[in-house]
Symmetry: C2
Subunit: 377 residues, 2 copies
């Protein structure tokens, strides 16, 4: 039932270096941004701080004198109202860049304390999409030298068997992240099984205590859900500032919409949440500087929904059947890409946008967990 | 240090009945709303369900055919674009109505199981405003027959003494709600002390696990923070539907803004959160059907910030110094009331709006906790 799939440290440096970001803007802006961040602080910021952003207290301007926050920060930024730059935000390249950094840290960990991070995946049933997702995660682990373990259980197994697998991984000191691939079979209670994952190993960040700590100012979650973290990484690494920006988040799922909204608010964006019951959603998105869509509806967001110069992050990964293709389907985002290209100043493609960075964030969470476990700062 | 202040059941029925809502609209709409809610369900809904609202899954309309949700529900509603009704939402009357219901339930509990709910308050230091708030809460307990206890500690006491007081109340089976009055003295860690309150008695609802459960779809918090619950009660009891409405929440505090936003989303409102870093906040509020302000800035929200016909809930309770007055100050909301009256279709006054209903919600949470403890549905 359980097999160690990989504990070898593959050298990804060369491969990743060969795949430098294709969009020069993205990687250079990223460097600007990070150096700015560090210069603002006397101590070197941890990666987590960087992602969580400064959680400043609200000090309101006195009535009548409210003015936009001063844009004194230097560094490359996307001028959302300027002439369209039509940047394709290259998620693959950004993911490679992140994985390169993770691989280095894993390597160093192995050299210094003879340990590597471990990620355990629980997969129940034979869903082809779940199998693909799990395979991608395990492959990514191999790339950066994270040890991966998997428990594969049959569709018909009892809930207790899943709970036992989770419990075994919870107790295994070589495992620092435990992930239950969703969706689970109908006869199982998702809340019970997700709730059984040790808080210290909940690299998906779906535990309600984690979510509460993400929501509450002054508290820090142990893990930020990967897709939400990916959206913010894509924006920050593209040199896009979030403070004071109007952001429309489409969709309010526990897995993407909700944590993305909470994380954006930590970065002081002004967030509006659009959902299926929103009247005239296009009225909300049309005034947004940044639109993040995680609705799961192909082509929901038309060109007419976007302000000229808007930045578009498309989390949607919707399979569209096409018997003429090898796999029988292709992937479409929530955004009508061709139309958006005419209006947006920057956009993530599907596939190759949020997806690969989400996997990289899972590796990042696993690394962080291992560092916490071994007391490495 | 600790004294039982009241365990007598006062008869509030007569007093409350004498103070029927002054604004006829508010109480009649309230009845409409409730009867509608009940007719939709075969089983009688619990009060909590009513407040939490139906948490429907998001089923998106297909692209291009998105239309406003059908307004098939009957019952009185505020037509926000109709001629200005200039309803003053009378928080005092609504609070009395709620307390009347609570008093009846407490009475029944005493009759049937010879127990009453108990609320324990921990007050540290001599802040006059805190003393006033605590006094109001204890007085409200007396009105409905809830037993109240108080631990008063000096400003200079050690954090451990506060933790001991909390722990004692946690263990006392006659106490169903434990509340630590904020703010605490500077030398104490608020998170530690609030985190020490038993999850089952956290009637303020500030525990991160509670907040996570409020945020996550499919989960239910044990308690909803009182001010947030009060805002939604004021709206629902005034016959205002939330589903599909554009709501601007001003402020994102852990205590008010955040839980109000999360609760509004459970009611399928489209929520935008405005804060101190929002560029041109008036652009956001001006398109909102409902504006809820919890910024703590007197007169922040001008008449020009509001759409004609908007509904305004003012959570702000800002003391303005005035030596000519007996107490040396008067209270002002976040909203410039006189200006808002010219534009809004409904508004809560300060004082007499959200405040009294917030206290009523504390009693409601304490009653719910006692019912849960004694297994009463």
């Amino acid at each position: 039932m359980r097999a160690a799939l990989s504990s070898t440290l593959k050298k990804v440096s060369a491969a990743a270096a060969a795949r430098r970001p294709r969009v020069a803007f993205v990687s250079s802006a990223s460097h600007h941004h990070r150096s700015h961040h560090q210069s603002n602080k006397s101590t070197k910021k941890r990666k987590d701080d960087y992602i969580l952003g400064p959680d400043l207290p609200d000090i309101w301007a006195t009535p009548g004198s409210i003015s936009p926050p001063a844009e004194s920060e230097s560094g490359a930024t996307l001028a959302v109202d300027a002439e369209l730059a039509q940047t394709i935000i290259d998620g693959k390249s950004i993911a490679e860049e992140i994985k390169l950094g993770i691989a280095k840290e894993v390597h160093r960990m192995k050299d210094t304390i003879k340990k590597v991070p471990g990620l355990a995946v629980v997969l129940v049933g034979q869903r082809r999409d779940s199998q693909t997702y799990v395979r991608n995660k395990i492959k990514a682990c191999e790339e950066v030298g994270i040890r991966s373990l998997m428990a594969e259980l049959s569709e018909e197994c009892a809930e207790d068997e899943v709970l036992n697998a989770v419990s075994e991984f919870n107790q295994d000191p070589s495992v620092h992240g435990v992930l239950v691939q969703l969706p689970l079979p109908q006869h199982m209670d998702e809340d019970t099984i997700l709730g059984a994952v040790s808080l210290q190993k909940d690299v998906d960040g779906f535990h309600p205590l984690n979510m509460g700590n993400l929501a509450l100012r002054g508290r820090e979650p142990l893990f930020i859900p990967c897709a939400a973290k990916a959206c913010i990484e894509l924006l920050l690494r593209s040199g896009i500032k979030l403070k004071g920006k109007n952001v429309a988040v489409i969709g309010r799922s526990n897995v993407v919409g909700l944590p993305t909204t909470l994380l954006l608010q930590r970065h002081h964006a002004t967030v509006s949440v659009v959902h299926a019951f929103t009247n005239n959603p296009e009225d909300v998105t049309r005034v947004a500087d940044i639109v993040i869509s995680a609705a799961g509806v192909p082509n929901l967001v038309r060109g007419s929904w976007l302000k000229r110069g808007a930045i578009v992050i498309d989390v949607g990964t919707n399979p569209i059947e096409d018997p003429s293709l090898e796999h029988g389907y292709y992937l479409r985002g929530d955004v009508c890409y061709e139309e958006a290209l005419q209006v947006a100043s920057a956009i993530t493609p599907v596939p190759g946008g949020v997806g690969p960075v989400t996997v990289a964030m899972l590796l990042s969470n696993t690394l962080d967990s291992a560092k916490r476990f071994y007391g490495i700062s």
